[in-house]
């Protein structure tokens, strides 16, 4: 009896302090996350230009959205960039991390060099790559000419090359992913490899049967955060291409921004925000669910 009362008392005490300490976050959650999500849900059913009060118009924004070619175009562009860029980026990060995991002289210098480009980000990164990809004087086409003797593609000014160009640029700043993968590789128990070596497994077999499964939780994490990040591409579109040429880099969030803060169609933009919200939610849930089949957690189970 006494011990139970004691436990009750501690539980109450713990709860009190728990909510005391997390109260700033709860306040932020209501004011800047939960509240805004609900509000944008409401705005998405209205015509709203910020100067006047929102007017309820039912599903009109959603109907317009799904009938708008530009919505489909921008969704397609964003998906294309994501579906190619994220897997290629992950594979490249893993290869770089594996190379850095081999004990060679100058290892630390190499990892610093691989990370360094990631310090350049945002606007500076975008401007630098506009220059590197300049069709006439950029270093990419200069090298292309030196190697092949032909003039290179128009990169950012070509409808078909613009997304591959941006993916190429994203491969230059893989530093974070490489660091995370490298830590994952270092945490794989060495005795697994030793056992495999005794069994005569080749290096390739070891990679397929030990390394890849052991780091699959890291892959899942990078996949989810990579996809979510990729859905939010904005700087490249605004600084490098203005969404062009011919809307070929009109990314989803760039379209949303244009609608909200250039055309002041806040209702329409809110509908776009909600579509993005639902899409990201469903996709994350799906990936977590499917991941149980391919992600290996040490000790099994959850």
């Amino acid at each position: 009896m006494a011990s139970m009362r004691f436990r009750k008392k501690t539980e109450l005490r713990e709860t009190k302090y728990f909510y005391f300490f997390i109260s700033p976050w709860i306040l932020g959650l209501i004011l800047f996350t939960g509240g805004p999500i609900l509000l944008s849900g409401y705005y998405s059913f209205t015509r709203y230009d910020i100067a006047h009060d929102p007017v309820f118009i039912g599903f009109a924004n959603y109907i317009n959205l799904f009938q708008n070619d530009l919505f489909w175009k921008s969704s397609g562009v964003t998906l294309y960039y994501t579906l190619v860029g994220v897997p290629v980026g992950l594979a490249a990060s893993l290869v770089l991390a594996m190379l850095l995991n081999v004990r060679v002289p100058g290892q630390r210098i190499f990892s610093t060099i691989f990370y360094l480009p990631s310090v350049v980000s945002g606007v500076v990164l975008s401007l630098l790559w506009v220059w590197l990809l300049d069709p006439d004087f950029g270093v990419v086409n200069v090298l292309y000419y030196n190697i092949t003797g032909m003039t290179g593609p128009q990169w950012l000014s070509n409808e078909h090359w613009v997304i591959p160009s941006l993916i190429m640029m994203s491969l230059w700043t893989l530093g974070n992913n490489v660091v995370i993968y490298l830590a994952g590789l270092k945490s794989v128990p060495q005795n697994l490899y030793e056992a495999a070596q005794i069994d005569g497994a080749s290096r390739f077999r070891q990679m397929i049967n030990i390394t890849i499964p052991m780091i699959s939780p890291v892959t899942l994490f990078l996949l989810i955060t990579g996809i979510i990040g990729s859905f939010q591409v904005f700087v490249q579109a605004d600084v490098m291409t203005k969404g062009g040429p011919n809307y070929a880099s009109y990314f989803y969030v760039y379209y949303l921004y244009q609608q909200a803060f250039r055309s002041f169609n806040l209702g329409y933009a809110s509908a776009m925000a909600w579509v993005l919200f639902i899409f990201v939610g469903v996709l994350t849930w799906l990936m977590m669910k499917v991941s149980r089949r391919w992600v290996h957690y040490e000790g099994g189970g959850d």
């Binding site: 713990e14 302090y17 728990f18 005391f20 700033p24 976050w25 306040l27 932020g28 959650l29 800047f32 805004p36 999500i37 944008s40 705005y43 190379l99 850095l100 081999v102 004990r103 060679v104 190499f110 610093t112 060099i113 691989f114 360094l116 480009p117 310090v119 350049v120 980000s121 945002g122 606007v123 500076v124 401007l127 630098l128 220059w131 590197l132 006439d136 004087f137 270093v139 230059w172 660091v179 995370i180 830590a183 030793e194 070596q197 005794i198 290096r203 890291v218 994490f221 990078l222 979510i228 939010q232 904005f234 605004d238 600084v239 969030v253 921004y257 806040l266 925000a273 919200f277 990201v280």
Partner: protein, 287 residues
């Protein structure tokens, strides 16, 4: 130990050496590719305008025009923009790190009713893209009369950020509970225990979080773009993005010079605090 010895002698070691030589050569080639854009950035920044548009290009700028850096900084009021960006990065990061540490301590230390549910909500909010909440936040701040100030960018930081809270919680979880219990038995209040025991113990985590926060704000573009309208309030990123609109031909030498100056603070921090940096990335990604 025995397996190591086996691999050191005999045929495996030959294979090992091949792998090492292959890996080393690939690392050298890839490093060159990684360095090349940075080299182009520096060499372009040192060229004359005529030399920028030369084909085939000069790989080494001659003459090296160091004056480009001064010209670039004077082309717009970059002193002002650097001051603004520094203030934003420092104030926002300070608020974010301390409020997040406070919240993370609550998550790690107390087994309150509803903790798991709260933690799940925290994880879920990490996945919510900023554009989803952007519009109502803008409306809120407009109604408060905060447009064209740094308040919309800084105030939310003082209520913690999900990502940093998560990161700090991972660190707090590694601290033995006994330390906190002992402090409580010594008669320290919960706040004192947080401040005197938890915070100093987790200063490496605070450093990692602060570096992240600083880097994020230093490069932030969308936030300042939405909220800031007056030129004297611009950040470096905003100023750089519209730098070219002042010229007929893009002055790549000046733009690259300005870009180099803009990335100096993050670069210096990266070299000074590489350890905390890597640590922060790893903890946020692995657990």
């Amino acid at each position: 130990m025995t397996t190591r010895k086996i691999s050191r002698s005999g045929s495996i070691s030959a294979g090992e050496r091949t792998v090492k030589i292959l890996a080393f050569s690939m690392l050298v080639i890839l490093s060159a590719l990684m360095i090349l854009p940075l080299y182009i950035m520096v060499s372009t920044a040192l060229k004359t305008q005529q030399d920028v548009f030369l084909f085939p290009p000069k790989w080494i700028p001659s003459p090296a025009v160091w004056h480009n850096f001064i010209d670039a900084m004077q082309a717009r009021s970059f002193g002002r923009y650097f001051y603004n960006t520094t203030l934003y990065s420092v104030v926002g990061t300070f608020g974010e790190v301390f409020s997040s540490a406070f919240v993370a301590y609550g998550f790690s230390r107390y087994r309150g009713i509803g903790r798991n549910a709260m933690f799940l909500i925290l994880l879920a909010t990490m996945m919510i893209p900023y554009p989803v909440t952007m519009i109502p936040q803008f409306v809120l701040f407009k109604n408060l009369g905060w447009i064209d100030t740094y308040l919309p960018l800084n105030v939310p930081s003082f209520l913690g950020s999900a990502y940093i809270i998560f990161l700090m919680r991972q660190f707090f979880n590694t601290v033995p509970v006994d330390l906190f219990e002992a402090s409580r038995l010594d008669g320290c209040s919960e706040l004192r225990t947080f401040w005197n025991i938890a915070v100093p113990l987790c200063s490496p985590a605070l450093a990692s979080a602060a570096i992240f926060g600083f880097m994020y704000r230093w490069n932030d573009y969308l936030g300042p773009l939405i909220y800031l309208n007056t030129d004297s309030k611009f950040t470096v990123s905003i100023a750089l993005s519209s730098f070219t609109s002042m010229f007929n031909i893009v002055p790549w030498h000046l733009l690259m010079a300005a870009g180099i100056v803009a990335i100096l603070p993050p670069t210096i921090i990266f070299f000074l605090a590489q350890k905390y940096f890597v640590q922060g990335i790893v903890v946020s990604g692995l657990k």
